[in-house]
């Protein structure tokens, strides 16, 4: 490439320097007509963007006035709307429904004619009718698409003559994007928004005009005839900033995780999502016909009535029609799910093997122009998700130090018998912070040592304590009538790390009275349901009569929590499951990675549950349990509840198994 530095002058303006090919030039906006004029030389038709039928389409243009100045668009899955763009801008939009494919690979072209006459039958191949074209305003993703079609139609073992004729004669003037639609994902496909190669000239729009770069010898010659000057540093910077803004906008969009995608997709041919997407997919084929790389066609016959001459023409077809895969006996892809799978796996998997590139350039047309808004990015994320980065260790915040205050008097507002040995007391709450899920209080009666009792529900001015009569103190507590006063101290200990559970799937496993400290956690989930992922609750009880909070189970289910119950022993009147709580896992689906489990019950039950959870892939940092130990002081001073390096009352009672390590489940600790 020879750099040119010739000086020319035009009437009425200062001397214009034609910059060297290596240095960007600047084209004033009002000189766009000069560019179009230069492209038109030699009867070349200029194909550029223009507004029609509520969209920026491509068509032949003859003046810059036909360009969509001051127009931009919003795009979303299944939706495209034009709106007012930045004032003074000519190319403030992104890609519309059409691409240069419409001209390089038209919807219908004749491929040959057959003529039957007395002398014999003659077959004549069609001659490509390819008038010279210039494309103005081609985007980076569209250049990439032209390259993809070149690989398919030009660089394979057989070149398509019609495509070759159209493609070779075409001049390409690209424009770099300085804006992005929500459906754009060029950055993740590695095709844009910057223009690298494949264009003769590359324009980048600024407020005053266009920074122009040369991409080929033909571009150099074209530039020589244009009224341009070297771009200033400020203009070049403005152009770079514009493209960088487009890049950040595209990167902020959902993309496609391309690394390893072909293999992941090939391994997902039996995914249940194919059938699910087919419920939504209309198999209308719009995605394939707006796609700038789809190249599938079918032949059509046009015969005359006498049967003398018939022309065979090639027309765009789509793998979404049953007829596309039809043979005499039927069609190989009768189900819509087969057709969607064919398309997606071709674009993102088998295409790579065939042509060394993805069949997708990230232009987003198939997303926007799908009448029901099916988004390939979303489908790929479900069907062939990228391997997840390893999850950060779940750390539980340190407990808030409790004050060492002595018992305060609190009145029993209500007493409700749950089972033969278990009662829930509603207590007026003392002047202290509200207990958080999993915290406990010390409950004292005159003459009895205070007992640690988990809070089973928190109201504005009261709390509930669910107490099983296991010894003399608890037996006395459960027997108290409404109106009695008892001593309360708390809240104490470290509860469930609710903040770390937001956005996660949660499994809750309770055995017997172990449901009590879990109920405030369940209450939080029900109140704030959308903040959590899938939530499953597995409940175990000794007998049907020992089941707790039975009147609330349906409310939990209605809130979208999956509740499953079992009892150890039952009579003939129990229709539910019988067996230990861990058996409930045999009936449940797999536990997704990242799920957090909260477990409370007898220690043996928690050990067995931990083993099952580990076997389902949960790591120890995500298995949370709440421990019972002898507690006298509740604030880590009396030493009774020591477990390894922890005082259960102060550092727990909620721990992750990762924190406890070997101490959990070890005989005699």
């Amino acid at each position: 490439m020879t750099p040119s530095a010739s000086m020319t002058s035009t009437a009425g303006s200062a001397a214009i320097t034609t910059p060297s090919a290596a240095e960007p030039a600047f084209l004033e906006r009002h000189d766009l007509d000069a560019l179009i004029g230069a492209l038109q030389a030699g009867d070349r038709r200029v194909i550029g963007p223009t507004v029609r039928d509520g969209a920026v389409i491509l068509d032949e243009i003859t003046t810059a006035a036909e360009l969509p100045a001051g127009v931009r668009e919003t795009q979303a899955p299944g939706r495209y709307r034009l709106e007012e763009g930045r004032k003074g801008r000519t190319f403030d939009f992104t890609v519309g429904p059409m691409s240069p494919k419409r001209w390089t690979f038209p919807a219908r072209v004749p491929i040959g004619t057959a003529r039957r006459e007395a002398a014999g039958t003659t077959f004549t191949a069609a001659t490509p009718d390819a008038p010279p074209l210039a494309f103005l305003g081609v985007r980076a993703c569209e250049l990439a698409a032209l390259d993809v079609q070149d690989r398919v139609l030009l660089r394979g073992p057989v070149a398509d003559q019609d495509y070759a004729a159209r493609r070779r004669s075409a001049i390409v003037v690209a424009i770099e994007c300085t804006t992005a639609a929500s459906t754009c994902f060029c950055a993740s496909m590695g095709t844009g928004p910057e223009v690298r190669d494949g264009a003769d000239l590359v324009l980048t729009e600024t407020q005053a005009g266009f920074v122009v770069r040369v991409g080929s010898d033909r571009g150099t010659r074209l530039l020589e005839g244009l009224p341009v000057r070297p771009a200033t540093e400020a203009e070049r910077d403005e152009a770079s900033v514009g493209v960088a803004e487009a890049r950040s906008a595209v990167r902020a969009n959902v993309g496609v995780a391309t690394t390893g995608l072909p293999v992941r997709l090939e391994a997902a041919l039996d995914h249940s999502r194919w059938a699910e997407v087919a419920e939504r997919c209309l198999t209308c084929g719009n995605c394939t016909l707006v796609c700038p790389t789809c190249f599938c066609t079918s032949v059509e016959q046009v015969s005359d009535l006498d049967g003398v001459e018939s022309t065979t023409q090639r027309a765009w077809d789509s793998c979404f029609s049953a007829g596309f895969a039809a043979v005499a006996g039927g069609t190989f892809r009768s189900r819509p799910q087969d057709r969607y799978r064919q398309w997606l796996t071709h674009k993102f998997s088998t295409w790579v093997e065939q042509f060394g590139t993805f069949g997708c350039v990230g232009c987003g047309r198939c997303v926007t122009w799908c009448p029901v808004g099916i988004d390939v990015r979303e489908e790929l994320a479900v069907i062939a998700p990228p391997p997840r980065p390893s999850l950060p260790i779940l750390s539980i915040p340190a407990p808030v130090p409790a004050d060492g205050a002595w018992l305060r008097s609190a009145r029993i507002l209500g007493s409700h018998r749950e089972t033969s040995d278990t009662v829930t007391l509603t207590m007026a709450w003392i002047d202290a912070p509200h207990p958080r899920p999993g915290q406990f209080v010390m409950v004292g009666l005159p003459s009895f040592p205070a007992a640690p009792i988990s809070v089973s529900r928190v109201h504005d001015t009261s709390i509930e304590l669910t107490i099983r009569a296991a010894g003399p103190a608890t037996a006395a507590l459960t027997a108290l009538p409404t109106g009695s006063e008892i001593g309360l101290r708390g809240p104490l200990g470290r509860g469930w790390p609710v903040d770390r559970m937001y956005g996660r799937d949660v499994v809750i496993v309770a055995g017997g009275i172990g449901l009590a400290p879990l109920r405030p956690l369940i209450d939080t989930i029900v109140d704030d349901r959308l903040q959590f992922g899938a939530v499953r609750i597995f409940l175990g009880a000794r007998t049907p009569r020992d089941r707790l909070f039975t009147s609330e189970l349906s409310a939990w289910t209605e809130a979208g929590l999956l509740v499953d119950e079992t009892v150890d022993r039952a009579g003939a009147d129990w229709l539910g499951r019988v067996g230990v709580v861990t058996h409930l896992f045999d009936h449940s689906e797999r536990i997704p990675e990242g799920t957090i489990a909260a477990v409370c019950g007898p220690e043996r039950m928690m050990e067995a549950t931990a083993d099952v959870l580990r076997s389902r892939g949960l790591t120890d940092d995500r298995i949370l349990i709440t421990l019972e130990r002898h507690m006298d002081c509740g604030v880590g001073l009396c030493g009774h509840c020591q477990l390894g390096r922890f005082f259960v009352c102060r550092d727990g009672p909620v721990f992750s198994l990762a924190e406890l390590g070997d101490t959990f489940g070890r005989e005699g600790r």
Binding site: G54, G78, R79, E279, R280, N286, D306, S321
Partner: protein, 278 residues
């Protein structure tokens, strides 16, 4: 080689599909050169009771008399081809299949007792075997020429059963659903019209009837998500091909809404009021 004997007959219909044949100005003479038009009351007073090599049948079966006649015509035809929405799906008049036939008949005719009609209007294929169907209201001239040409040449006619969308996109039209929010039944409708309505910024109203794999439920959900009420979508299906099997369930919901009082069923009282005004 003797020229094939062509007949064109009609049942309950408007004659528009037959006229499509007469409107083939560029091809009509060539066609009449190649076939012997022996029965075509819209075009010639020469009549023939058959036999026919090819019989084009327009209209749906709407009276007991027609139900007998079509069986007899089938007997006299080597190839029987139905043309248009009435003959292939029942037509607009098939809406009576899910309405109260008697009350409508009483509303329309001053002396309903003189009217002998079936309570349903049904496509020809429900009565006799049909060799091919040309869809549409009216049929597309291009498809008629293609069918006649292929038949004369002896090849399989190209009557694709894919969605309207494909031809719409080949023609370079901007999707009216996506760019304008216009309800369009193109994704579930059989191609053949050349995507005529979207060319005039209108949504397709399915006059060609269902395509293969018509996902009516999926389109219905999509249109509701775009802001239409479910009732409006159902009503859009309650047109020329309402009783085509793939559309019937949806279109019948519109008919049920009609019966349930969203729109009143006609009564003889209303007719009397109208008479009084006259």
């Amino acid at each position: 080689m003797s020229r094939p004997r062509l007949g064109v007959v009609k049942f309950a219909s408007c004659d528009g599909c037959q006229l499509t044949l007469l409107d083939l100005e560029d091809e009509l003479l060539a066609i009449t050169d190649r076939v012997d038009v022996v029965e075509f009351p819209e075009a010639t007073s020469a009549r023939s009771k058959g036999p026919y090599d090819l019989l084009l049948v327009e209209g749906s079966v709407s009276t007991p008399e027609q139900a007998e006649e079509i069986v007899e015509l089938r007997r006299r035809s080597a190839k029987l081809v139905t043309i248009g929405a009435c003959a292939t799906a029942g037509g607009i008049q098939a809406l009576r299949n899910v309405a109260h036939h008697d009350s409508w008949r009483a509303a329309v005719y001053p002396e309903p007792a003189w009217i002998e009609s079936l309570s349903t209007a049904t496509p020809i294929a429900e009565h006799v075997t049909v060799d091919a169907e040309l869809r549409g209201c009216p049929i597309a001239p291009g498809q008629l020429v293609e069918f006649l040409t292929a038949t004369l040449v002896g090849r399989r006619p190209q009557l694709p059963d894919e969605a309207v969308c494909l031809e719409c996109k080949r023609a370079g039209r901007v999707c009216v659903v996506v760019a304008s929010g216009e309800p369009c039944l193109g994704p579930v409708t059989r191609t053949g019209c050349g995507a005529l309505c979207p060319a005039f910024a209108r949504g397709c109203y399915a006059c060609f009837g269902p395509r293969e794999s018509a996902n009516v439920a999926g389109l219905r959900r999509g249109l509701v998500a775009d802001g239409m009420t479910a009732a409006e979508v159902d009503e859009r299906f309650a047109g020329f091909t309402a009783m085509a099997p793939a559309f019937a369930a949806t279109a019948s919901k519109a008919a049920a809404a009609y019966r349930e009082g969203t729109v009143a069923e006609p009564t003889t009282d209303r007719v009397e009021v109208d008479d009084a005004r006259r």
